[in-house]
């Protein structure tokens, strides 16, 4: 196989691979792969939301904007700067009857337990990678009472690899008991495995 053919094949495979990752809209975002989440995040935090507060702020560009600040008490930080408190800043919110809600922006309530894949906190409109795809909740299975990791919207995942696939038949996947469990331990192990993975080799370059 000629080198240029090899490169074309590689590009085609890559295109197919990326093409299968559905672009999401809302915030129109791109669905990340699990590897994207782990490698592109500045910080990965497992923790509980302890405070949610919206207030008016003036950003560096001089615009007055409503932002929502979500305070998290970390129980584990597999990647990034260690800290006893993390405050995520989201564009939008509601202050004293003034609404500035961004469709699709992730929302959290005090008490929520989740894994947060964070990038650019404080300087971006959403500090989570690909908006709602950057948070995975820990919820109790109503049948077994055991903890499971689910998508932001509550739909179940069988594995961390399912992250890059959009929920299929969403009406039924929201039923936690309808699929095999992704436990926090399995999810955690997958994150650490990904963190330990050596970086991919540099792509082949065409000789001049």
């Amino acid at each position: 196989m000629q080198f240029s053919q090899l490169r074309l094949s590689l590009f085609f495979s890559l295109a197919l691979l990326l093409g299968s990752a559905a672009p999401l809209s809302a915030l129109s975002v791109v669905v990340p792969t699990f590897s994207d989440l782990v490698t592109k995040s500045d910080q990965i935090v497992r923790g509980q939301v302890v405070r949610v507060e919206s207030r008016r702020t003036i950003n560096a560009a001089g615009y007055e904007l409503i932002k929502t600040f979500v305070s998290i008490r970390p129980t584990e930080i597999p990647k990034g700067e260690s800290s006893s408190a993390v405050v995520l800043s989201f564009l939008g919110g509601s202050v004293a009857g003034e609404k500035f809600e961004i469709p699709g922006m992730p929302k959290f309530k005090k008490g929520d337990r989740a894994w947060f894949f964070i990038k650019g906190n404080g300087s971006t409109l959403c500090p989570l990678i690909s908006g709602p795809h950057g948070a995975y909740r820990e919820v109790k299975d109503p049948t077994t009472n055991e903890l499971r990791v689910v998508r932001y919207d509550g739909s179940a995942m069988a594995s961390s690899e399912a992250i890059e696939r959009p929920p299929v038949n969403q009406g039924s996947v929201r039923s936690l008991s309808s699929s095999p469990p992704l436990t926090p331990a399995i999810f955690r192990a997958a994150i650490y495995r990904e963190l330990d993975r050596p970086p991919p080799p540099l792509p082949l370059l065409e000789q001049p």
Partner: protein, 596 residues
Amino acid sequence: MRLSYSSICRIACIALTACGLLIPRSWAFDVYSFGWPSGTVTFRVNLDSGAAPAVPPQRLMDGTTRWSVVFSSALAQWNTHLIRTQLAATPLTDTPSSPNGINEVFFANNIYGENFGEGVLAVTLPRPSRQNPSRFFESDIIFNSTKNWNSYRGKRQFATDFRRVAIHEIGHAIGLDHPDEAREPQDVEAVMNSSVSDTDNLVADDIAGATALYGRTLPQPTISVVSASQSASVGDLINFSFEIDGQAPPAEKTIELGYFWFFEGLGGEEDYLFTYDDPVLDLGLAQTFDAGTYTILVENPDGSDFKDIELEVAAVANTPATSMANLSTRAFAGSDSKALTVGFVIQGDSPQRVLIRAVGPTLGEAPFNLPGVHPNPKLTLQDFAGTVIQTNDDWATANATPASEIANASATAGAFALSGDSKDAVIIATLDPGVYTARVSGDNGAEGLVIVEAYDIDESGGNSRLVNLSTRGFVGTDLSVMVAGLVVEGPGPRTYLLRAVGDTLGDFGISDFLDDTVLTLFRGTEQVRFVDDWDDPAQHQPMLIEAMQQLGAFPLTDRQESALKITLFPGPYTIKISGFDDTEGVALVEAYEFPE
């Protein structure tokens, strides 16, 4: 004619299918509470210069040569299904800004100074009008200029299809949300789903959403009846209501009819009463600061009507001889941060004899029959320095006070009787003026509902009395909300400050505090006042801050906590503390008596 079994099945199947066709489709679309007026909605578009990505020389995949043309074709998709409104595009020549009441559409590498962040392709910023909350003020759409865009139909490819993202974002810009992320998420194919599939055009559910919002002319709402302006006195029960075209307003607001209450106090500015969402504005017990003008605004994007109601409130004199008595709190008592701690203040010159009870097991018996009661509460009374004054586990045994004396004191104070073998806890003590706490705990992690009561049983004729009550405990939902009770005793009204503190507890090292408290005051079983956020209305905040400073109450740091200055006439009152939207956590309820 005789029919075979298979023929019967076939006919049944056809009949079922026919019936199925007649069943109306349950649409999944989700809408905001505001929309655009009828007429033309103009988008100022700059997608071909500035930060716009270059169009390849060989054109976009669908043959177009400009992003603005693609955007116009996306607008046209929606226009086909809009009746009372049409969307139009004109060039944007000025620098975009927000908020400015102009719908601006452009490419940029940031959103008014905020970076897009990883994986974000585009964003819509819909803003309702502050003066007319049923109407849009503006809706900017910003596409991420750093992404790889193209325009094509069918299955998704390597580059992102600008057209379907534009169709989706325009849907947001006219008031449609994600059907799959609605309060009750539904499974339906839609361009407006949060997850864009290979669907590259509007489908039935999107069209149904557009039709619901813009498919017909909106009626002009007219307020036909409204409460009369009135002169009241402090303590009168006040509520305002209205009718629209001779009908009671619907409990739920719709795009066709929204209603909003505003308040302008004497010398104040008009505030939108954002925590009062009901058609009836139930003020409860009138206070002097309630005096002013109340405005009911009914509207939809096309029309509005409003009526003013004037309220005058005559003040009443505080009665120095009136005071709080019989303070109680019913709440969940657990271990660690969920421990229930009741604080009270004795003010005066002489010692005061008090009866303190922590009742759990008796609440589980007739006539109360409460579920989930604490099986064996233990009571510890401490002074301000933390010195333990007295403890008791089971009231009738190992108590510093004989059981017969406790029974008599309870009967005299009007407290319900405890059975002799119950594991409730009771302390009787004579206390000097000062600050005290009564802490409820349980052995071996026991927990449950408990009521803690403090009664003034002094018969010595001294001038000391209970003046403040505070309880810190865990607030759950349903029966596990916190309920504090107090009796205002005396010849006339007296003014109090009531607070439900949540977020501020975080500043005192309590991490699992209740976020967003709600305080509801009852007289007997009748609700007489409701406070969600203490900044609603904002013009009452200075008065509340002054009251807190006067009473030495620590300042509240979060606007979503609850505070109420209120003059109460003698009688029994209960204060319910709950979390907005059923949140749970540790809260502090306080009742302060204003000095004479």
